[in-house]
Subunit: 209 residues, 2 copies
DNA sequence: GAAGTTTTTGACTTCATAGTCAATAATGGA
DNA sequence: TCCATTATTGACTATGAAGTCAAAAACTTC
């Protein structure tokens, strides 16, 4: 059997041969995500990542192409887990107003542990602007998914005359999404939990007459 | 006359002696502000500043202590000029609703030239978090001044039954300020002028029944 | 014109960081 | 047991940036 074919077969089954990895890729990705989330891309050095993950430089480079790629994977992971958790939480409520309340308080629930870091996607949007296409796409996807959830909830609220119909559900969804974006800035700039709670309460209450 | 006295006199009149500065401090500060505004603190290198101001390194260091001090001075300058311009614009309107409309559209007026950079204070809040006390204070002052202007306008609007009284003027002011913070994130993350305009229009219209 | 003072200038130092290289270790399969 | 392959390891490189130093230049006053 010619060598190149042998190589292909081995390549195909490569995880059942050769030295196995000593660290958990998922765990390393999660820890990297927390690091990037807390400090941003630029301010997180590769040394920060190796220290927090306890994985040596070359091993990280081996699995994740480079710092930016690792960052992108972390951002995607964040979006997936955030949206999933939010949808799960919202689906537990039946009334549109209760669903909205669940959405409103989600950021506050996590205030102490993570809200002080703000939303990872928002932070990334601010840090990168529109410089990095992939980051921009990821952020847009996050916002769009969030807004869609809001829109559905608001629409059913309107159908039950619980929410004003002076504006369309998409307009109101964009508006509430925007309010939550703003709350992130408040949190990052050191506003108190009470202040943020009050602002979001007003923003959400004002659309339900 | 003793030497030390001679020294004191010279020191006192020092601007009418010795080599005069070749560059305009105000101009350099303004250009630095635009640089920091567009790129943020970390991503602006001192070389960026010397290039854009056409002032050599040591000359900049001579006038502004270091990079961070220059940044702080730029941020203060930004707040002063922004608030002044806004107050001037608002004072030209007499009706509270027209004043509010002026506040709402101020960010949009500058969309093409500067809005893509967002608000310098917001950017700084996001970049520094609460790490740097002086930056935090400056950002808080900016937000507070802005919110105060909103509160006054809303209050007079409420007195004339033009704005809902279901919420206090301070609550509504915080809410609208928050909406404008959110609009900054939208702008930075690449949203269109129309989208931002629509969101702010809804947020401002919803409080005036 | 000399003295004294401040600005300008460019070279220099120090430090942190992203990414690379080559040697070594560990594993499964033959 | 040996081979092929991949993971680990630490040393190394290259780059860019903040801040410093000392010499030269320009100006005012005497």
């Amino acid at each position: 059997m010619p060598k190149f074919f042998d190589f292909m077969v081995k390549k195909c089954y490569h995880d059942s041969m050769s030295r196995p990895r000593e660290f958990d890729i998922n765990r390393a990705l999660h820890q990297s995500m927390e690091m990037f989330w807390a400090k941003g891309f630029k301010s997180t050095s590769f040394e920060d990542l190796t220290r927090t993950t306890q994985v040596k430089k070359q091993s990280l480079y081996g699995v994740f192409e480079d710092k930016r790629t690792l960052f992108l994977k972390a951002l995607t992971r964040y979006r997936e887990q955030s949206i999933t958790a939010l949808e799960e939480r919202v689906s537990r409520e039946s009334s549109p107003l209760d669903k909205l309340e669940a959405i409103r308080t989600i950021p506050l629930l996590a205030y102490d542990e993570t809200m002080c870091n703000g939303c990872f996607a928002v932070n990334s949007a601010l840090e990168f602007g529109t410089d990095d296409e992939a980051v921009t796409r990821e952020v847009e996807m996050m916002f769009a998914q969030f807004e869609q959830l809001l829109e559905q909830t608001i629409r059913s609220g309107q159908e039950q005359q619980l929410i004003t119909t002076r504006f369309s559900s998409t307009e109101l969804a964009a508006c509430l999404n925007n309010a939550i974006l703003g709350a992130n800035i408040l949190a990052k700039s050191g506003a108190s939990r009470e202040k943020i709670d009050s602002v979001l309460r007003t923003a959400f209450a004002v659309i339900a007459p």
